[in-house]
Amino acid sequence: MNKYAKISINGLVWNNPTFKLMLGMCATLALTTTAVNGIGMGLTVTVILLLSNVLISLLRKAIPSSVRIPAYVVIIATLVTIVRMVLFKYLPDLYDAMGVFLPLIVVNCIILGRAEAFASKNPVLDSAVDGLATGLGFTLALTTMGIIRELLGKGSLFGIQIMNFSIGFFSSSAGAFFVYGICIMLFTQISESIQLSRKEKQGRELRKNLLNQEVQA
């Protein structure tokens, strides 16, 4: 597996910001009442994450370590403000749907976390791939939760009513925590089984190689 594929898989799955690292929970819980809101928030964060990672990686040698956090915050806040302006101009419905959580992206742990943990230590292309993959991982997580909550809480999917049955609980904050917990449980279960099977496969191959070496000896 090449370097970029590994970074991508890490961002999307093994270091998924929502289900694994549990970062950016505020927006996750508040904006997953519908699938469209989840996608909207996820893609907005993806764009900001990609741009902030690229910029911070570009400036990583110029920014002294002592002022790196305020410098990152200024860069991220500028990007968030520009994205807000663009959304208000061209996607006003999405802007309205995200409400107060749009400016709050400035303090989203995922963006500052990736800036500090990855972009400040890696070259531009690697950082861009990491930003994109982490953002898409966040988008996938929010969309999954949005689909579950919208379907059960409103009986609709992407705004289209598909059943008359709904449980209001899933649209509430308590429902958000409940769905989030279930998603984390399933994600952990599935990812651990995959890792376990990968380890078993590696072990089998290792034993097979050792046996071959013994036979040859």
């Binding site: 519908t34 809101n37 400036l59 002294p64 002592s66 200024v74 860069i75 649209s171």
Partner: protein, 473 residues
């Protein structure tokens, strides 16, 4: 540390880098702000396009200053090409602030048909707006029978047409208040019905009263209102009729007295006691709003000697209801009989915009087709009630009658004409039917052109401009 050492130090470098990043980011934001600026007009146009199907706004400056109505305020009123009215109103009583919505009111040939659409515009501090689905907003348009009968919206079915989302009651309250404000404006100003008019200053006892609904019939004003809780009792609801400044009938529709004082409060039969009372008598008992504090205890004021019941708060709240009804009587009555907007020939005019410059009003208007001709467009300037200049900017006469219509030079004929002269020719709107044929009416002898419909439409334009002059100047 010397100055030279400071400029070479890591601290200076850190500050310089941070400052540079901040300055560059500031510059980028300034450019972005210019590039992505969205004007208020553009925001309004977005709302219009979402709300209006195959229709467009022809005049969105019908309201020059905010109009307070009930627990809300009307911010903007626009007239559409189809004759519908689009009202933007802000309602109080939300979770942390207010909610602003657009309400589209349907009109057919000048007749009010009810609410067509309600759409969210903005809010202050609400956090659960996402719970309010399109079905909730659509529900406002599903009760037009009750709206036409004078109903208002509430989150409580006992107080009005119920429209609420459980768990988002406060935001629902603010939206209901906004819709009610918009309804109040339409009823009082556009329809001129006198329902829920908002009198100009002073509105007496406003702080103590909420959810006021008013109906005016002749010189009788009937109030349905709630007096807010004072002390221990809960809110009280009342229905009060006032004629010639005196209470005609007085009914407590919801008694908020605490159970232990019900007996004491029941000692006075208010439905009898209040009849015949005037504002002077009631304000003498509880204090005149605006000049004195409302007396909140009969023990302190000593004014209730004739009315001691032992349930002073309930008693004061009941008196406030009566004082509100009598004290605001003149103001409501005056507002109720105020002219609607616009008054004359509204049914014949499809769209109109006005520009006021000193005492000159310049109209750009379209008169709807009558008979065979197409719509006519005009530009008319009126000064001191007389036509200054008159221009037909689009002549809708059918081709075969163009010569006949051309016999009269209207741009000369109309100059100097007043509303009285023009309405005498075509019939005064509101009191007579518009005359649609000069042969029947015999009024056009001096103006016979052989293109009667075109002629009448042209006269209507002049009559509209002069008749409504006082409204706009």
């Amino acid at each position: 540390m010397t100055v030279k050492q400071f400029f070479k130090s890591a601290a200076f470098k850190a500050l310089a880098v941070l400052l540079s990043i901040t300055v560059v980011c500031g510059g980028v934001l300034a450019v972005a702000n210019d590039l992505f600026y969205v004007s208020e007009e553009e925001v309004n146009l977005r709302s219009y396009s979402k709300l209006l199907d195959n229709d467009k706004v022809v005049d969105d400056k019908l309201l020059t200053e905010p109009y307070a109505s009930g627990d809300g305020v009307v911010n903007k009123v626009a007239l559409t090409e189809k004759g519908d009215y689009l009202v933007q109103a802000t309602g109080d009583g939300g979770y942390k602030g207010s909610v602003t919505v657009w309400v589209l009111f349907g009109f057919e040939n000048g007749k009010f048909k009810g609410i067509k659409k309600v759409q969210y515009a903005s809010d202050e501090g609400e956090t659960l707006m996402a719970n309010l689905t399109s079905a909730y907003y659509q529900n406002f348009a599903n009760h037009n029978e009750e709206v036409l009968a004078g109903g208002i919206f509430s989150v409580d079915s006992s107080e009005g047409i119920c429209n609420v989302v459980t768990g988002t009651t406060k935001s629902s309250t603010a939206i209901a208040n906004a819709v009610n404000s918009a309804l109040g404006y339409v009823r009082a100003v556009i329809l001129g019905q006198g329902d829920n008019p908002t009198p100009e200053q002073p509105k007496l006892y406003e702080k103590n009263v909420k959810d006021v609904n008013v109906k005016i019939s002749g010189n009788t004003v009937t109030y349905t209102l709630t007096v807010k809780a004072l002390g221990d009792p809960d809110n009280f609801d009342f229905k009060i009729a006032v004629t010639d400044g005196k209470i005609d009938s007085f009914e407590i529709t919801k008694n908020g007295t605490t159970d232990s004082y019900l007996g004491a409060f029941g000692k006075v039969d208010f439905s009898t006691y209040m009849v015949g009372k005037t504002y002077a008598e009631l304000s003498a008992l509880i204090g005149k709003d605006g000049t004195e504090q409302i007396k909140t205890s009969y023990v302190e004021s000593g004014s209730f000697n004739t009315l001691t019941t032992g349930a002073s708060y309930s008693c004061i709240m009941t008196l406030i209801a009566g004082a509100y009804a009598t004290g605001n009587y003149e103001a409501y009555l005056a507002e109720g009989s105020a002219p609607a907007h616009p008054v004359y020939y509204a049914e014949n005019v499809k769209s109109a915009t006005q520009e006021v410059d000193g005492n000159t009003v310049t109209y750009t208007l379209t008169v709807k087709a009558l008979g065979d001709p197409d719509n006519f467009d005009f530009k008319i300037a009126v000064t001191d009630g007389k036509i200054d200049s008159f221009e037909i900017t689009k002549n809708g006469t059918t081709d075969s009658y163009l010569d006949a219509f051309g016999k009269v030079d209207f741009s000369t004929y109309m100059v100097g004409k007043t509303y009285a002269e023009l309405s005498a020719l075509i019939g005064m709107d509101g009191t007579e039917k518009i005359k649609t044929s000069y042969v029947e009416s015999g009024s056009f002898n001096t103006l016979t052109t052989g293109a009667s419909y075109s002629c009448i439409m042209t006269l209507i334009a002049g009559a509209y401009a002069t008749g409504n002059y006082d409204l706009y100047v």
